[in-house]
């Protein structure tokens, strides 16, 4: 389970989707918790799980892709784990923590009975060493922004460690706890170059519930129970076996032919088929859906690409008067008209089945600051859209089916990354719906790498169908704040002083009620100005074999409490018994 870095990881979205046609889905319920009916818990059994891509490394410091993080989560421990409400934490390596008098430091008391795989006890020096690597940019840890607010980490004695902060903030605990703890005795003298090519990446020494047994590239990763795990009876499962299946059709086939116990990111049609079979009582895979961590949107480039090109990035004062608004999407009414021309509910249903929630504002649904009625909702009304456009001077004088104003024709290119089938479907549907109101949109698929380097960073595009992977920290600075104008994520070139003031106030407010008011104002402002047209918020889905008990799956991920999962002896499958009495 992984708290996202403060910046919403753009490339994560792409990387996760890099392998052919792989998508996240979600369904109306918030979370799935399967109650623990039977009292007598028996250990033993094997979990067969699917990964959509091969993890590039199992070293927490250099891991980037989602699969890598999921496996690392089972091998390494953190100081504390976040709860499903995404604000409070439960103790893990640290038993308890308290803030020191001047409220700019946190003291953690560690467990003394936790050992690394090779028997060496886990001490505060490991936590101090881990911070030293995490905060050093040379090691290239992608969670670095979490640690910018931390000045020093001191290990008082073997079981207490203190984090010192520059200035107090709401997220001190979240910043301190972020990131798995690394074994100091293994990685002590490693320089960044050595670490990159170290064997540790392929044979990690961890302290978590499971440890690596075997990793066959492009095939399987096999973890076995950590014999001297501090929380003795757990983990109940003997083995967790990850099968690497990049091809979605392949994944579906294996699910249907019973070769998998757990899989996530299913296509809507497959998920519906599984749910149908489950409702009829035939299948033994229980479908699970929960609000995910992704949403899709159309980003309108508010600035004419040629004018942005000529801008000098160093002098950031009075940028507004140098930039010419986009010939099409410069005006707010045009953007509103285009939003009203799209039947977003229908697109959502076709592309995602029911695995989506409508989204009308910038605040992600799973974060505390989300207030549905704060957003201004533009309902689907093509006639109204056509009126707005003609009011803006866009008529179809030469009856060629495309509006024009003066000699500018209302035609543009909408880009998305190739290899993502559902976005390609959405693009085709949008093209069709825009054609109805006389807007000619040409869809274009571009390879992810090229999309970022050639179109997004230099902002050489008109419109972009894209998606964000939501971080658990509530902030929109890197998307719309003027301070991050030249930041790669700020590609709509949105600039508004009111937004700047509101967000500064919201982030500074320690009292949640006050912060909520500011976020509501922001939501109203952005859903009015529409730098984005938000399409839908995805509901993730997964399927878990019915024989597993005490399973918790929610937006934090699928492998949240794998240590707790167990299989009643009666329901064991043949391959569950293979490892019963082995160490």
């Amino acid at each position: 389970m992984r708290i996202q870095s403060p910046g919403l990881h753009l490339f994560l979205v792409i990387l996760g989707l890099l392998s052919t046609c792989q998508q996240k889905q979600s369904v109306p319920q918030t979370a799935f918790i399967q109650p623990n009916q039977d009292t007598l818990i028996t250990s033993g059994g094997v979990l067969l799980a699917a990964l959509n891509a091969e993890p590039e490394t199992l070293n927490p410091l250099s891991a980037l892709s989602e699969p890598a993080r999921q496996v690392i989560g089972l091998i390494f421990l953190r100081l504390a784990n976040i709860n499903s409400d995404l604000t409070t934490f439960t103790p893990s390596l640290a038993t308890k923590w308290d803030t020191l008098p001047d409220a700019r430091a946190l003291r953690f008391h560690l467990r003394t009975d936790v050992r690394w795989q090779d028997g060496v006890p886990v001490t505060a020096r490991d936590v101090q060493f881990t911070f030293r690597l995490q905060s050093n940019p040379a090691y290239g840890w992608d969670g670095l922004p979490f640690k910018t607010n931390i000045t020093k980490v001191a290990a008082i004695d073997d079981s207490t460690v203190i984090f010192f902060f520059k200035h107090p903030s709401r997220t001190m605990l979240m910043d301190a706890v972020e990131g798995e703890i690394l074994p100091e005795h293994v990685l002590r003298e490693m320089t960044p170059d050595q670490l990159l090519a170290a064997d540790f990446n392929q044979q990690p020494v961890g302290n978590g519930p499971f440890q690596l047994v075997e990793w066959k590239p492009q095939q399987t990763i096999i973890l076995k129970r950590n014999p001297d795990y501090y929380d003795y009876p757990r983990p109940y499962l003997d083995r967790v076996i990850f099968k690497i299946i990049p091809d979605n059709a392949n994944l579906t086939r294996q699910l249907l032919s019973g070769e998998l116990d757990l899989a996530e990111n299913l296509l809507p049609r497959d998920f519906e088929r599984l749910s149908l079979r489950w409702r009829e009582g035939k299948g033994n895979l229980r479908p699970v859906s929960f609000l995910g961590r992704q949403y899709d949107f159309i980003a309108w480039n508010l600035v004419e690409p040629s004018s942005y090109r000529s801008l000098d990035h160093r002098r950031t004062d009075n940028i507004i008067d140098k930039l010419r608004p986009h010939r099409l999407f410069g005006s707010r009414t045009v953007r509103a008209a285009l939003t009203m021309a799209l039947d977003r509910q229908r697109i959502g249903e076709i592309v995602n089945g029911e695995l989506f929630r409508p989204m009308n504002g910038p605040i992600p649904l799973i974060l505390w600051a989300y207030n549905p009625n704060a957003n201004h909702i533009w309902e689907y009304n093509p006639a109204r859209a056509r009126q707005l456009l003609s009011a803006e001077g866009w008529q179809d004088n030469d009856y060629d089916g495309i509006l024009e104003k003066g000699q500018i024709k209302f035609q543009f290119e909408m880009l998305t990354n190739s290899g993502n089938i559902r976005r390609q479907h959405a693009l085709t549907l949008i093209q069709d719906q825009l054609k109805a109101i006389g807007v000619a949109m040409r869809p274009r698929l571009v390879e992810p790498q090229v999309l970022i380097e050639k179109f997004i960073v230099p902002r050489e595009f008109d419109a972009l169908l894209f998606g964000w992977n939501v971080g658990l920290k509530m902030e929109l600075t890197s998307l719309f704040h003027s301070s991050t104008f030249f930041h790669p994520f700020h590609f709509t070139s949105y600039y508004s002083t009111t937004f700047d003031i509101l967000e500064d106030r919201a982030r500074a407010a320690l009292d949640t009620r006050l912060a909520q008011q500011q976020w509501d104002k922001i939501a109203a402002l952005l859903s009015e100005e529409l730098p984005y047209t938000w399409l839908y918020y995805k509901v993730d889905c997964a399927a878990i074999h019915k024989r597993f008990r005490n399973v918790i799956i929610d937006q934090r991920g699928v492998f949240v409490n794998v240590a707790e999962w167990w299989i009643p002896a009666a329901e064991r499958l043949p391959h569950d018994r293979l490892f019963l009495n082995q160490p």
């Binding site: 579906t252 049609r269 497959d270 390609q424 093209q431 869809p443 274009r444 390879e447």
Partner: protein, 279 residues
């Protein structure tokens, strides 16, 4: 037509392979030319109520993800697929013959140089180049044709070179040289006509392989982009959900196979006639 007179029409028709081959190829070309006029629906018109319907009376070949009728997409697609394959084959034959003749006729360094280029290109991993091109440029039809031709002219060049070298050793070529004819005349009047048999057969086989490769290219993302489709794109769309919508890929696959079998039959038939007429 006097030149073809040597291959009397009856012998062409009596050869079973030729007969079936011409019938199939004729039907396919007919379908490509007039098919789109008979398409029951507009191939790009989406119809969101009819998504992924299995083959039924209304939609003989069923519908795809956007509810578009697959039969009409197949008919329109045939024009694109055949167009791409035929023009790619033409380009390949052009390059292959010219370079093969040059290498075969003017021996010495030119021959060595061209053959080394062939070796290099043969060794090139095709997939790698395709993926890069998909990455770099907008994948237009022209780009697909160029890529297709770029990868298959080497075999033809080698065939033509080998055949030219064997013709150089024949008596009639030496006699022609003794007549003092210039190189151009020798190549055009003496070498090229004698390659005709081999070229006819390899053209047919080439068209067949072009169709197959075109479908793999679309599978990798290079090819026709929305909203129109070629057989290749239909195949790759079908591939995404094989367990569910089996009909999307099935009919496109069958269409490709029938066309390719047709051209192969024609190729083999011509080959038989060619070898019979030589004895």
């Amino acid at each position: 037509m006097t030149r073809l007179q040597g291959m009397r029409h009856s012998r062409f028709w009596s050869n079973r392979n030729c007969r079936y081959g011409t019938i199939i190829v004729g039907l396919i070309l007919l379908m490509a030319i007039i098919g789109p006029l008979f398409a029951p629906y507009d191939p790009t018109q989406q119809n969101l109520e009819q998504i992924l319907q299995p083959p039924s009376l209304k939609h003989i070949c069923g519908t795809d993800f956007y509810g578009r009728d697959l039969l009409s997409r197949l008919l329109h697609g045939s024009r694109i697929s055949l167009g791409v394959s035929l023009s790619a084959t033409f380009l390949t034959m052009l390059i292959g013959i010219v370079l093969g003749l040059l290498a075969g006729y003017f021996r010495g360094w030119l021959d060595k140089f061209l053959m080394r280029i062939v070796d290099i290109l043969l060794g090139f991993p095709r997939l790698f180049i395709i993926l890069l091109i998909v990455g770099i440029s907008r994948s237009t039809l022209l780009m697909t044709i160029v890529v297709l031709a770029g990868f298959s002219w080497m075999e033809i060049a080698r065939l033509v070179r080998a055949e030219t070298r064997s013709i150089l050793t024949t008596n009639y070529l030496m006699a022609a040289q003794a007549l003092g004819l210039n190189h151009f005349r020798l190549i055009i009047a003496y070498i090229l006509p004698n390659l005709r048999g081999m070229l006819l057969t390899s053209t047919n086989l080439l068209i067949a392989s072009m169709l197959t490769i075109e479908s793999s290219l679309s599978f990798l993302g290079l090819g026709v982009n929305e909203p129109n489709a070629s057989w290749g794109t239909l195949l790759s769309q079908g591939r995404l959900d094989p367990t569910g919508a089996w009909w999307v890929a099935l009919f496109a696959g069958i269409a490709i196979i029938i066309t390719v079998v047709g051209f192969n039959l024609l190729g083999d038939g011509l080959n038989q006639i060619q070898s019979e007429s030589r004895t």
